[in-house]
Symmetry: C2
Subunit: 188 residues, 2 copies
């Protein structure tokens, strides 16, 4: 991956850390901890959490395939604007389809797009079930639920893979920061 | 106007400077100069220009009344996210309807919303006609063109009024910065 240019106005190479993984794989948790660590390092950043954005910018969107793609498109456009403004963007959304993540990569720019795969098994994610969504999906109350009744297309060549089913949050974020540090987050 | 809270991660009170005025009243010019001055003051900021956002986030929207409102809603939501991230947002779009600007104020939060009216007469704006749009509108080639065939509802109580038809860009931005400085941009 090429090193991105440094926007003058904040003075850091801004990237988008695109977290993808099953529901329950730890996206929001990793995003929040990465944000906390970056803030401590005085690296301006911002989390775009899929669930939260659905109550604001994307409140008009549902869960049809078309609306899910539009959800991802808009979040990628906002991440792009935040990168242009010099912020590190951290996105936390399942984004199960390769084609949608490719679209996000194109919008954001390949040199700024860091795809991070949260690799936890369905069994572990379903065992956690923090929002009770898997239970509902198994009862047929949620159609097209990723991992149950809709596919999750794992990244084929992610920049980073985090084993969030086996490692602690702190250890995953250490690994992620180390990877970002060597490549994109810090000025040379 | 109450002083907004200071987001910890950038360390400035983030506001949205909402520029409204006729086509040709100087919104993009004032936005660019305000951005330049804020960057020089090391105040992280970002311009959301209506025309530019229409090539990205809002590329799916047209110019029907419904789409114009959606255009403003999304830009207000992005400005809100940027404020949450600690950036000063500067928006440059005609936003001719009071109801739409009220919606923006609600989304962004009244304590962060700085409405700036670029008060230049239609004659002056039409005389400038930087994009040749007034000529097209007069020929009937653009329906519902603000000031010609659609209304512009001037703000009734803007935080700042800039006389962009009479004053220089530098003088307008001086006045705007002085108003911001006293109220919101700088830490006490």
């Amino acid at each position: 991956m090429e090193k991105p240019s440094i926007p003058a106005r904040v003075g850091q190479p801004a990237v988008t850390v695109w977290l993808t993984g099953l529901s329950g794989s730890g996206k929001s948790t990793i995003a929040a901890e990465l944000e906390r660590r970056l803030v401590a390092l005085e690296r301006p950043c911002f989390v775009l959490d899929g669930d939260k954005v659905r109550t604001g910018l994307n409140r008009d969107l549902g869960f049809s395939h078309e609306d899910r793609t539009e959800n991802i498109r808009r979040i990628a456009e906002v991440a792009h604007l935040m990168n242009e403004a010099g912020l590190i963007a951290i996105t936390a959304l399942i984004s199960p389809y390769r084609a949608d993540r490719e679209m996000a990569r194109e919008i954001i720019g390949a040199e700024r797009f860091v795809e991070v795969y949260l690799d936890a098994t369905l069994e572990i994610c379903e065992g956690r079930d923090p929002k009770g969504l898997y239970k509902k999906a198994r009862r047929g109350e949620i159609p097209d639920f990723t991992g149950v009744s809709a596919p999750y297309e794992a990244p084929q060549a992610p920049q980073v893979t985090l084993h969030t089913g086996k490692e602690t949050v702190a250890s995953c974020v250490d690994a992620l920061l180390a990877r970002l540090k060597g490549n994109v987050v810090y000025k040379d």
